[in-house]
Amino acid sequence: MMEADAKKLHAIEIIFGILVSIYLIAPIFVLVPMSFGPARFFSFPPPEFSVEQYIKFFHSGPWWRAIRISFEVAVLASFFATVLGILTCLAMRYKIPAKGFLNAMFISPMIVPLIITAVALYSFLSKFHLVDTVPGLVLAHTILTLPFVIITVSATLKGLDPSLEHAAATLGASPMKVFFKVTLPLIKRGAITGAVFAYMISFDETVVAIFLSSSHAITLPKKMWDSIRFSIEPILPALSTILILFAILMLVLLEVLSRKRK
């Protein structure tokens, strides 16, 4: 009697788990099949198999331009965020005054609601003519992704044995050499993971882009936002599928990075 009950419960658990999982990744179940339908209207399931949407998308200059700009901004932002993040994490190992306050300050871009950051930066950067420019977006995204890099790298640094660096220094290596030859390789994985996080966050970042990106420097999320709001373009399911694919690739990359043992 208990056995049957336990089995029933177990079955219910699994079904519930599967249902919730489907709920979480509903886009994959809907947009991917839809992307292989005609580029005219959105019906599900698509009436016929077609790669029209993909063809249209690949020939679309404006969409590729948006992808290029998002890519540029994401690469630059993640680079700057990683460099600044590493420097900050290294700095935090020393005895600095008000460490708790500084910590909170560095995490704050993650805490402050994006709309506030977006509007504040829009107002501020317009004074320097940086709105709707790639540099403006890079500045904004660097600040936004910095906390994530700091969190990731500091986690790696926590497990770092300082005696290794000490040993190198006593053997006569200069601070630069110690950093590049001993410290950096040990935090490399954390740094790369942080850089990948920063890249992903910047590439998909929408709220700040809505305000800082307009006609010249239009990012992919801003273009998608305009499209979904004002004029749903037929290539959206295909574009979504491609983005989902990239998300999966990034995930695999992160998984590979976390598996690599030294």
Binding site: L87, H129, V138, P175, M176, S215, R229, F230, S231
Partner: protein
């Protein structure tokens, strides 16, 4: 010992240089970009099929004739124009704006006066001539419906409010102008006796239909899309865009009765570095044959150049807002009445929407 000192200083120097470069670098890129900008003209319009028609009739020919690149932008809202002009950083050289936007921009001192030495106005219809803007097209905002979605054809705004006989979700533009007039017409007010608007009565009538509005449209393309996809059965829409959709086989119809008639105008934001070029473009775009191409072949709006009608087919003229039969059924949108009340009514609209 000596070695350590140098390497540490160098390290610090390197960091300092990197930070400085990171902070200053972007500025340099931007300065370079703005300096090399005189070979272009930035024009901002309403996007979608309307802007596509302008591209074909004006932008591309202008590029061919002058060698100057036309850079397009969409979304000519007052907020952005004001932000550009007051910050001294004008990005848009020419804007295409609706009449009430122009009147508001004038009170805020945001526009350049039209240079009548460059822009010749002798064949432009009088209602299109203003000191700070010249009408380019007369457009109609009308009740539009999807023939396939409704069993009966609606005949006017009263039917828009008649949910029983014309069931289905509706849409309207997400702002107060035009909608208040439509509401009053639906409530029985004679279309020629609308102004001054009875605001309370209009909002009361709007509240009757609010629950049936599925999503409010913000762009011309969106209004057409909602109707085409069947997300809504009736909406307000700009007649030219409807006409373009019809030519593509979409089963949409407009109702001229109780529709609103208004002007779109070319204007030049104050302080643009390419003012003369902007004026030259406006002169170019007011040409009779070019307007006739746009309105006669591409999108069914009424041209502002009297002579353009000589080049538009009679059958086509019947589809334009300016055709006498059509004109008689519409009311003229009174942007002069709206301009001083725009902000207040926009706020009231926002409050009403979430109540």
């Amino acid at each position: 010992m000596g070695k350590k000192k140098i390497s540490r200083r160098e390290f610090l120097k390197g960091t300092a240089a990197a930070t400085a470069a990171a902070a200053v670098g972007p500025h340099i890129f931007v300065r370079k970009a703005t300096a090399a900008s005189n070979k272009k003209l930035v024009i901002c319009s309403y996007g979608g099929s309307y802007q596509a028609s302008q591209r074909k009739a004006f932008f591309e020919p202008f590029e061919k004739a002058t060698g100057i690149k036309v850079v397009e932008a969409t979304g000519p809202d007052l907020a952005k124009i004001k932000a550009q002009v007051t910050s001294g950083n004008v990005e848009w050289d020419v804007v295409d704006i609706e009449s009430r936007i122009m009147y508001t921009a004038i009170t805020e001192n945001l526009l350049e006066p039209i240079d009548t030495n460059i822009v010749k106005l002798n064949t432009i219809v009088k209602p299109a001539i203003h000191k700070y803007g010249i009408g380019n097209i007369a457009f109609t905002t009308a009740l539009t419906y999807n023939k396939k979605q409704l069993k009966k054809a609606p005949k006017g705004w009263a039917d828009f409010w008649d949910v029983k006989n014309f069931p289905g979700p509706r849409s309207l533009q997400d702002h107060a102008p035009f909608n208040l007039e439509f509401a009053l017409i639906a409530d029985g007010v004679n279309k020629d006796k609308l102004y001054p608007l009875d605001i309370d009565r209009a909002f009361k009538k709007m509240s009757q239909i609010k629950g049936n509005i599925d999503a409010w449209w913000e762009s011309g393309a969106q209004s057409i899309q909602q109707l085409t996809s069947g997300a809504v059965v009736m909406s307000s829409a700009w007649n030219g865009r409807v006409n373009v959709a019809q030519s593509k086989g979409v089963p949409l119809e407009i109702v001229w009765d109780g529709a609103a008639y208004d002007w779109d105008l070319w204007a030049v934001p104050k302080g643009t570095p390419r003012k003369e070029l902007a004026m030259k473009f406006i002169q170019f775009a007011l040409d009779a044959k070019r307007q006739a191409y746009q309105c006669g072949k591409l999108i069914a709006y009424g041209p502002s150049n009297k002579l353009a009608y000589n080049y538009i087919e009679k059958a086509r003229q019947k589809q334009l807002p300016t055709y006498p039969d059509n004109l008689a059924k519409q009311f003229s949108f009174n942007s002069k009445w709206w301009q001083p009340r725009l902000n207040k009514l926009n706020e009231k609209w926002a409050a009403w929407k979430i109540s």
